[in-house]
């Protein structure tokens, strides 16, 4: 059963990444996704966004890194992860991936997670359910 005692709420250690066109291009090559909205700067300028945008899953990868730094590779198995894409990230954006543990079940931590830009706008919001060792709810998560 979820223990939503507020004393158990804790901020996850956040990470930051700066989006640039070379970062987007490297990701495009890694996942073979060369959609022009991501990699063609001229196309991006004419688009509704006024520039290229980062792949949504690049930021999902960043969120995964943030979770790994907080929970270790525990979260690679028996975990759940849900994300909603709120707005695009563009070259020049400085992104913060963060979250908060909102409660524990017997063997999982229930987290709210997010990606925010330098204006504190939410780029991605979501939740994660991460397995923890029994008795870890008051101990180190990493």
């Amino acid at each position: 059963m979820l223990n939503d005692n507020r004393e158990n709420r804790r901020e996850l250690k956040s990470i930051t990444r700066v989006i640039s066109q070379p970062v987007i291009n490297s990701y495009a090559a890694a996942v073979n996704d060369f959609n022009p909205i991501h990699v063609d700067e001229e196309y991006g300028k004419k688009s509704m966004f006024g520039s290229t945008t980062a792949h949504g899953f690049l930021m999902v990868g960043y969120l995964a890194t943030m979770l790994k730094e907080n929970f270790g590779p525990n979260w690679f198995t028996r975990s759940k992860f849900e994300v909603r894409f709120r707005r695009p990230a563009k070259p020049g954006d400085s992104l913060t991936m963060g979250g908060v543990v909102e409660g524990f079940t017997e063997d999982t931590a229930e987290c709210r997670i997010w990606v925010r830009n330098q204006l504190n706008e939410e780029i991605i919001s979501g939740s994660a359910r991460v397995p923890i060792k029994r008795g870890d709810s008051n101990a180190s998560m990493g």
Partner: protein, 132 residues
């Protein structure tokens, strides 16, 4: 390839499977692209779980791309096992829901990825607004 047609999607329809072999070089490229530590993955011979998640998205497009203007609303993943170097992953996506809301066409696709031992590696659910 022509885009998928909304009217031809029905709940329960299974799309063609998507097969992928986990190439360590591609994993290294992915790990570097997200600014992660390659050493950990190299040492354990596994890929980040989000890389397997990308394959589930590709499985949504085996019978054609989504039409222009389509928007991914949400993504849900359940990671059950690590993805190991050399694994051959087979993903099948199924249309699990289809509905209209505020004149927008929504489609929900669920996908399941199996490894070579027929073990489920990742389950995914994608909700999208269909482009015109």
């Amino acid at each position: 390839m022509k885009s998928l047609v909304y009217d031809q999607l029905y709940v329960g329809r299974r799309l063609k499977s998507f097969t992928y072999q986990v190439d360590p070089e591609k994993v290294r490229e992915y790990v570097n692209a997200i600014g992660e530590d390659w050493g950990y993955y190299h040492e354990n011979q596994i890929a980040p779980p989000t890389m397997a998640a990308i394959y589930t998205l590709l499985a949504n497009r085996t019978e054609g791309p989504l039409p222009p203007g389509s928007i991914q609303v949400s993504q849900e993943f359940e990671f059950l096992r690590p993805t190991r170097f050399g694994d051959t992953l087979v993903t099948i996506a199924t249309v699990s829901e289809k509905y209209l809301r505020k004149d927008r066409k929504y489609v929900e696709l669920t996908a399941e990825t199996l490894n070579g031992k027929k073990e489920v590696v990742v389950k995914a659910k994608t909700v999208g607004i269909w482009g015109e």
